[in-house]
Amino acid sequence: MLEILTIPFIQNALIGGILIAVLLSVLSLFINIKNWSFINVGISHATFGGLALGVYLGVSPISLGFIFAISTGILIGYISKKGDIHEDISIGILFSISMALGVIFLTLTPNYTSDLFSFLFGNILTITKEDIYLLTIFSIFTYIFLWIFFRKILFCCYNEEVAYTTGINTKFYYYSLIVIIAIATVLAVKLVGVILASAMIILPAATSSQIFWHYKKILISSVLISIIIVLAGIFVSYQYNLPSGATTVFIYGILFFTALLVKKIRQGS
């Protein structure tokens, strides 16, 4: 069993998987308290438009994916703030437009042969050293940012108007959080696909908050849960020759419903 740890692509998958797991589970706290569970789905699907445009134009798909994701994130925030539209509505509008553009670009691309399966589920076993470097740099940046401004961001999530009246630049924190989530989402989509990226940013805090009520405990347990699940997903998928992304999502799901059951039993008693 442990001999798989000596295989280079498994090593990369483990390191990359843990890096993504920690990053997305930290962000999942904010996704849950802001009720932004749809934002990651929106941004990750919007990324598809950028990737497809890159394929069509013959330029780096991932670079255009980044541009689409960040633009979508900022637009979601802008439309929600200026147009009095709930974030979920603006997400739904933007991601469907971007997905539609993606399909049009791919249809127009001559001799396009790739399928969308890798976009949906990715393949954690294909993580490269370069991916790990990029993920490490972005993760460090995110943790420093959150370390310095955590209380202010949490206060903005609690009540943006109240936070503003204490002199906090709420717009800065709002858009910074959206951009960080957008970049993390693109990185995750590239490595683990849309479905797993969504699961990894929604389910950790959603699961932990069934057991714990305080944000510190939710944060710590979310990180631990994610690391364990990603490792379990890699091992199980390798051992039984199953798709790694789908296997990991399934384990996340099982744990969420277990936590929900535990909560119900505790409430009942």
Binding site: L154, N159, A163, T166, I168, H214
Partner: protein, 260 residues
């Protein structure tokens, strides 16, 4: 006495519709003002314009002798929104909520906690410091939110419908608490409320608002039929509560047409 808030020739339009027109008043430091009026009369819009959330179409606002956006940055302004503006099941403790009020403070972590505990004690919520904020009743949440506002030691505080979700008995003690706050700390209080009867005996001034400022002055002068008709419409029926009225003993103004 210095002026804490000055509103001059203020007109506010939202989506092209005039919500507030030619509003003029000023509040001196240490005064308590209740902004009252019918629903849709522009009370909350006025509060949000004073705080800088809404840009006026015309006119000028001076908050602590500065434009609102500059005044906000001084950290001397406190704001308590309506209860329902706080997300459900927000994962913080009572102490965390009070500490939000010190998020820009230069105090050490230990000093911040000491001060937060002091204000939790002040509002009678010290025993709940480690409880989930979302598990508290409406009245308890309001007390904690007041502690969050006060912990920054502001010069002026704005309260939007502060008695929402609080029963009548708790409302009395809440307004009593606000009155005490003004007397002991000299804080200027501006509140939007619909509880004109309850609030009248606790404030220095009332602003009667329905697009225009129909009344601005002492509460006793407010309870006149012509003023109330202008503010609430001609269908208003005044009910006067006697000194002996047990059911509504909070209301003691002997004016109007009926007795309870």
């Amino acid at each position: 006495m210095k002026t804490a808030l000055e509103v001059k020739n203020l007109t506010v339009k939202l989506s092209g519709k005039v919500i507030l027109e030619d509003i003029n008043f000023s509040v001196k430091k240490g005064e308590t003002l209740a902004i009252v009026g019918p629903n849709g009369g522009g009370k909350t819009t006025l509060l949000k314009t004073i705080l800088g959330f809404i840009i006026p179409f015309k006119g000028e606002i001076k908050l602590l002798e500065r434009p609102p956006k500059e005044a906000i940055k001084t950290g001397k302004v406190g704001y308590l929104p309506q209860k329902n503006n706080i997300p459900k099941r927000f994962p913080v403790s009572v102490l965390d909520v009070v500490l939000f009020g010190l998020v820009n403070s230069k105090l050490s972590k230990k000093e911040q906690i000491e001060r937060a505990l002091k204000y939790l004690d002040y509002v009678g919520m010290l025993d709940f410091k480690d409880h989930p904020f979302s598990d508290l009743s409406g009245g308890q949440q309001q007390r904690v939110s007041i502690a969050r506002v006060l912990v920054a030691e502001p010069e002026i505080i704005f309260l939007d419908e502060p008695s929402t979700g609080i029963d009548v008995v708790a409302q009395e003690s809440f307004y009593e608490f606000l009155k005490n706050l003004k007397e002991t700390k000299g804080i200027t209080v501006v509140m939007v409320t619909h509880d004109v009867g309850v609030v009248a005996k606790f404030v220095d001034k009332i602003a009667g608002l329905n697009r225009f400022l129909h009344f601005y002055g002492h509460p006793k002068e407010f309870f006149k039929k012509d003023i109330l008709e202008k503010l609430y419409g001609s269908e208003i029926e005044l009910v006067v509560h006697s000194e002996e009225c047990v059911a509504c003993e909070h209301f003691r103004f002997k004016i109007g047409d009926k007795r309870c």
